[in-house]
Amino acid sequence: MLSRNIRLLSRRYSQAVTFRTTESSPTQQNENQVGLFYTMNNDVCKQLFAHGGLPKSFMKQTKTFTETALMVRLPALDIIDCIKVTDLNKPVVRYVLYGEKGAGKSLTLAHLLHFAHEDGFLIVHIPWVSDWLRRLPRDKEMSNSQSREGFVDIPLDAAAWLLHFKMQNQVLLKTGDLKTSKEYVWSKRESTPAGAPLAELVEHGIARVKYACDVIDVLLKEIKLLSNAKKCKTFVAIDGFNSFFYPLTRLSTPTKKKVAPEEVSLTAPFMEITKNDWTNGAIVVTTDQLAVPEDRQENYLPKYLLYQKGFEHLDPFVPMEIGRYTEREFLSCASYYRDRLWLRGPPELESELKLASACNPYNFMELCAPL
């Protein structure tokens, strides 16, 4: 009884401020919805982010809140608008999201992924580059590349990514319009004929983990060709892209030699696809301080994080800063937390939390957790 009363009370309080929008399709959202939350369809969410893509802490929160609600924020809308008006016959435009730790770069990317999914893009998405290059779980497999001398394969990660790719693009892959342009011979007995659907290629990579890295290489080349031929439009999203440019990875060859990111066989295809020498697509990457070790975390500006090499690789790109919450966004977020009964207490609490979290979304979330 008491808890119901409390719930009713907080509901009533939260209804004073609108914090939710019913417009759940990012293609339709506009400035009127800035700072409001929209709920993602569970199936779509599962399809897009089942194999990563949302930060871990946010995943936990969605489980608690029993819904995946994203805030519509201005940078995402800005990029969506840009993508809408871009002439797809021109070379792809690259967007770089940057901002402080916890400002919401990954969630903005998730929002954009949702948009791309709604808009019928073929999605090429790396949830977190550092998972490949810097994370070393015990079962990490590293082997010398068979096809290319001096390269290191991470076949399990590659296969996992192929699975992720297949999951995200299951609709498009099923239609079967996307076909390979030439024959690829993997071994004496295994080959993919020209004109085979891309799904077959992906399946092959997943089934034969040994060739997963090569399959990715081929797959991305094919995607580029298909995009150029207007068979599909492609949305490339890479989170923690600056990890590719940090001089050393934590991987090592079987002979314990340290590996530079260029020597990982997965790097080259993604470098290729982030070039602007193809059309009919869009590229959004994020640069994150957390993607590199602490000695490279002095500030969050993209040129510093990407090094000159990375900057020149992406140049000209559209830098897009993801900032802290504005006044409006903060209030809306606070009332959302109140609605979810995540935040209780007197209304003065907000101003205190605002000061304590400095309007940083992640800090705010963390501070609210014990309340």
């Binding site: 840009c82 871009t86 021109k90 070379p91 602007n276 500006l301």
Partner: protein, 342 residues
């Protein structure tokens, strides 16, 4: 009386001779004159003395201090015509100087060594200077009419030589610091091309101040000012001509050695040209040289983009430069402007 003479010849035996002179005095017979005063002298055994007369102390006739007698409308230049150390009676001013005991005033001007120690400029009062200037005016020539402003002077006399003269009261009038010569010139006044300017800056090192664009060469190694002057002139000449020289090894300079960001030599230019040609659907297989020479003026909105990229590298990355880069890239790629939080 003796003379001691030393003859010294190298190699010979040392010999000394002593002459002794025997002095002779002439014996002159003493004249006895007038012992013929017959009066006896009285033997005064008790030696009664006269009462000593107290001498009345004579009052010293001290004239009043000169300083107090001075008229107020006197010409001070006549009283104190040249430099000299302080004299209290000549200066009609209530000056005090020296250690101040607690609760008391500093010592007055009379018998005050502190005032005499320090140099004074009592001979250089404004009216005196004025009259002296008037006096030497007839030797001066007129100031050139065209040099009527600082800019004109800088334009016609770009080279600036700075020396210091020292004036102090000591047995020596020379001061070693007066030998130092400073030469200053604006770098923009030197005729240098891109390479020569770069080399000149490397040669002068921290003698160049980027804020004021001034090159300052200081010489103090020679003992005389004249020599130092010659030396700074030599240094400037040598640096200037050396910077125009082109050595063989200078061709080996790579992109990493560049001290500033040159858009034409970097990857970004290649990116830009490639992007432009892709937009036009043209073939691009340019070599590095061709890319370098490619005229970017044909690309719309490129100049602003180039400027913003250069400033991003040259001025360092900051919110301002990134914002500039953002707007210029959006213009270049034909994207809408950034949305602003309302």
């Amino acid at each position: 009386m003796s003379v001691f003479i030393r003859h010294y010849n190298p190699g010979s035996v040392y010999n000394a001779k002593i002459w002794r002179f025997a002095s002779t005095t002439a014996e002159t017979p003493k004249l006895t004159n007038g012992e013929d005063d017959e009066e006896f002298r009285v033997l005064d055994i008790l030696k009664k003395r006269d009462k000593l007369q107290r001498r009345a102390p004579r009052k010293a006739d001290v004239p009043p201090d000169r300083a107090e007698k001075m008229r107020t409308d006197q010409k001070w230049g006549d009283v104190w015509p040249g430099p000299k150390s302080f004299h209290p009676s000549s200066v009609p001013l209530p000056i005090r100087q020296g250690y101040v005991p607690k609760g008391q005033a500093p010592p007055g001007k009379k018998a005050n060594a502190e005032l005499m120690k320090i140099p004074n400029f009592l001979h250089l009062t404004p009216p005196v200077i004025k009259s002296q200037c008037e006096a030497i005016k007839k030797f001066c020539t007129e100031w050139p009419k065209l040099l009527n402003s600082e800019e004109a002077i800088e334009k016609h006399y770009p080279l600036e030589i700075i020396t210091s003269d020292y004036c102090h009261a000591s047995p020596v009038i020379r001061n070693p610091l007066s030998r130092i010569v400073i030469l200053r010139i604006k770098l923009s006044d030197l005729k240098l091309d891109k390479h020569a300017r770069d080399k000149f800056l490397r040669l002068v090192g921290d003698r160049y101040d980027g804020q004021t664009d001034l090159v300052t060469i200081t010489a103090d190694r020679c003992p005389v000012r004249r020599q130092n002057l010659d030396y700074v002139n030599y240094l400037l000449t040598a640096c200037y001509h050396e910077s125009w020289n082109y050595e063989d090894w200078e061709g080996d300079k790579t992109l990493q050695d560049m001290e500033y960001y040159d858009f034409d030599m970097n990857q970004s230019k290649r990116n830009l040209v490639n992007w432009h040609l892709l937009c036009l659907n043209e073939e691009n297989n340019f070599s590095d040289e061709e890319i370098k020479l490619y005229d970017v003026a044909s690309i719309p909105n490129a100049t602003e983009y180039i400027e913003s990229v250069s400033s991003l590298f040259n001025d360092g990355e900051s919110d301002a430069t990134l914002k500039k880069y953002d707007t210029s890239v959006r213009k270049l790629l034909g994207l809408p402007d950034k949305k602003i939080v309302t």
